[in-house]
Amino acid sequence: MRVLVIEDSLRLSKYVRDGLAQAGYSVDVAHDGEEGLWLALSNEYDAIILDLMLPKLDGIAVLQRLRAKGRKTHVLILTARDSVADRVRGLDEGADDYLVKPFALEELIARVQTLIRRSYGFKDPVLSIGGLKIDTARRIVSRGSRELSLTVREFALLEYLVMRKGEVVSRTEIEKHIYDEQAEPSSNVVDSSIHRLRKKIETVGAGDLIRTRRGMGYVIEDQKK
């Protein structure tokens, strides 16, 4: 899942990016409102973490322009402003969640996960397909008592496919949602990741859940009996 962090504090944005990356997210960072808005409009993010006090364009203006352009990306406001009026204003302008600094990184990640699940229509943090249990909160995939050992990228890939269960997902979409702008996925990196993921899923006896639709992409669905 790909997240945009718009935060002017270099240190805070760096460590939030690191924390989210550790949790398996692809993260882009912008340090001012204009850059943040440009990135938000240019890419497809699953969630945006937005500071309010930003140079060039403040957070509320970024939010307003984003919504005015019809972007429905879930936005979490992360700010030092803690008054009720500020919270209400942020939520009124179209934010989906509000977190005040200082915050627990675990809470920030949990809230981001909740926003992403909500954007794909899920409420339960544990997704399931073909006997696999994907715990998006604990970042664990298991089948029965057996646990799959997945890399951060593989987990993100599986999570994204399951979030779009039954839909054909193109390679481009996978690249846009799994890789951040600093990563330059080679032409077959998605195919390789899918290949490795299939093999790991098969090792726990879940069968071939991921199907290839030639020329279109991949689809994950329960195996038909």
Partner: protein
Amino acid sequence: MRSIRSQLILTLVVCVSILFAAASTALYVYARDALQTQFDEALTTRILSFSEMAEAQVKDDRIFYEFEFDEFPLPEFQPSADAEYYEVWRDDDSVLIRSASLKNRDLPRIAVDDALPALGDVPLPDGRRGRAVALWFSPLIESDDESPTMETGRRASRLYMTMARSRESLDGALLGLLFGFGAMWGLLVAGLAVTIRWSVGRGLRPLEKIAHDAAAIESTDLSHRFQTDGLPRELNPIGQRLNELLGRLDEAFQRERRFNADVAHELRTPIAELRTLAEVALKKTTSSETEPSHGEYFTDVFDIAVQMESMMTALLSLVRSEAGRLDIAREPVDLTALIEKSAALFQEEMARKKISAEFAHPESAIVESDGTLVSSILTNLFSNAVGHAPPGGSVRCALVETDRGFTLSLTNTNDQLVEEDLVHLLEPFWQKDPSRTEATRNGLGLSIVAAYAAALGLILETALRAEGLFEITLFFPPPEN
């Protein structure tokens, strides 16, 4: 609790009632006297005319009296419920004649000092309260055609006549008048109470509106203003003063809000950085995926600590200064030396930003002040000038001596500031950039300069000069001796 309405109503009703009572009393006394006079005049006229109707005749050296009104008695002197009375005495107090209504009784005599009629209240024989008039008079001796005498044309010996009538009609009229005035007074008081209550209520309605408007003001929103257009002339200034007060409160409220937000930002952001950094570092330390790189973390931890320490030190200095808890030790201080020392701290930054510096000051400039505080002022001023001058900009420091002491001007290029910013420049935490991105500046420098300058009795002025130049000027007054 005192009520303006009740007080106004009570005061007005009492005052108007007293005034009306006084006016009524005066009117009553005037009317009573007029009626009494009229009554007395009628009585006096009558006794005078009766006295004129008396004649005397001398026969055989004896005087005989004739009273026309006795010979042809008038009906009002006949016995009846509202009879009137008269009685005439000789000089020797023997009764000469009396009205039939007296039925051989006597009227009380009242004292008559001279020839004029005397008046007085007397009890009438039938028990009624009466008014009597009496006079001494001497009837004219008339001639008898058959036996004329020498006495003709002279006056007979004097007689005392009294005449009385009931004064109940007069008393009744006076009582009616008294009751009339009393009833009018009562009605007026009641009418006044109602009218004044209505009028005062109507007059106080704008006050009630102000109270209603004031009640609608929320503690979190002071943008409300009272409508002064419809207010009466007396309340208009109050409305305007209240609006001005609200404006000042709103300004202070906004300043407080900005201050809180700025403090929150200044404290929360580094704490958030520290906490996030620690959480990420802990995860990396326990994770097998990534090698921990402690050096980078510790550098950031150190920088954050320095930033917070700097902010806390500045904030404490400011609070101490504003609370008047600065220890000021005045001594001869060389401003030139302190300027050079403070400027030297920023040489590296000026070189890095390619800022041109220009200094104009005497070789030595001794003032009586606190060296530590002046040094802090100069350091903050240079930090501000160098920090806000754009790359390639300029900083100019000029110190001149005048007959009013030393004047220090520090000018730097700054094309961001506008005239409206000058009022905020000395506010704690104020920064031109509302996002407060720059971690090395906290917006307390000029506030500390202002606080220290005030503590030392220095005058501080800020101004925007032409071509994007910001100038801050400090006046060091000469020693007071």
